[in-house]
Subunit: 255 residues, 2 copies
Amino acid sequence: MARHSNGESVFSRVARIFEGFDPEHSALTVSELSERTGIPLPSTSRMVTEMIEYGWLCRDADKRVRLGMRIWELVARAAPVNEVRAAALPVMTELLGRVGQPVRLSVRAGREALCVERLGAPGAVRDATTVGGRAPLQASAPGLVLLAHAPADLRESVLSERLPRNPEDAVTDRNTLRRLLSEIRSTGLAHYPGTTLAVPVRAAGGRTVAALSVVLPDAGLIRPVVPPLRAAGARLSRALGDGAPARGLPDTLTA
Amino acid sequence: MARHSNGESVFSRVARIFEGFDPEHSALTVSELSERTGIPLPSTSRMVTEMIEYGWLCRDADKRVRLGMRIWELVARAAPVNEVRAAALPVMTELLGRVGQPVRLSVRAGREALCVERLGAPGAVRDATTVGGRAPLQASAPGLVLLAHAPADLRESVLSERLPRNPEDAVTDRNTLRRLLSEIRSTGLAHYPGTTLAVPVRAAGGRTVAALSVVLPDAGLIRPVVPPLRAAGARLSRALGDGAPARGLPDTLTA
């Protein structure tokens, strides 16, 4: 693709513009965007103008720049998560109705769990995870489910790293983590850390493509929530072709 | 931004690549993508390679190209519809639980209604509208709600056009449409065409930012569904600041 005099491709600058926005920075002035991306102000300004023309960015009432509706629409109508989300939403809705606590769907993105959908309920425990939010695989129940079923080489590579020491984490050594992952594979349930419960979601060929989880306000609710959560995971897995020969969902969902 | 020898900007080619994907074409070979975008095959191939590096595109098990998880994530975490969606999902979930039929949230995108969320239920009537799907404003109940509350100049411009003649449409002349829009503004409800019901969703300043709708299997259900639909629309409007002075949501949501 065309390159700037410094050898950087034009596309990489488009990508940097988009990387400049996140949940805490969903509206930025052109100067802030230039500062966050490291792209000189005049170039940032020209790019923003063109991207606004195409609806990939827009200006709000305060003249700040935001992502535009057109790129949202382009991505929404052909997103790699659409199939899983479409199958999951009715199941998640029913599960939310039964347990009355936030329900979340996550997929693996490299070494992190990526939340692709969440349903909350008024009055339920606050679940800080937003759609599009990420966490290291070993740092949450859905992440542990995804790690437990990840390819062996990725699992070993995570296990061989120094584990981040979060004082609230029970898992601070790799033998405990290894045992925990093996337990999750045999029980089909993760209930660590704290009061988040997660089960695997499988597609054709028995491949784990996502984790379905519920965030509970206290440990007393774990016991009654396990059966409906397991049932929801099984139902969603069947909807995605679990039990059928491998095919269908792109591998890229868990790239 | 940098331009090709034919004067086309690099960004416009990136945009054309993304325009090449839609719900019926979510996986394409590089040749198909080149054909659909009109970008010569060698350039398409180079662009695809670079966009795969950044996770904006990916290859599935059949070696076809799809949208990638990274662009989905970048858009999801700062999307202009996030605020409305986050407020709407609990309300939509509860409404679905009450009426047992598909619930949809739409915003205006120019002269079309754009579906930004839908919740279906197993056993409910099939609702063909997908998230990211569009329809002309005058062709559906949510579109009519959005048109009824659109700026007067846009409304007049739509009214001055020749209306598309769909044999199933009751509205084939502009006087009927004008009367219908005025009725929707005074009753706060659209129940045309057929058995889709829609109500406006307002934000701070009383501005209509979305339409909430339910698709019914038969007209006998209209009467019992109206009260919970109205209540859900009012509740969502309050959550979005209706009743408060104007501010908050970007104008761009209904650009």
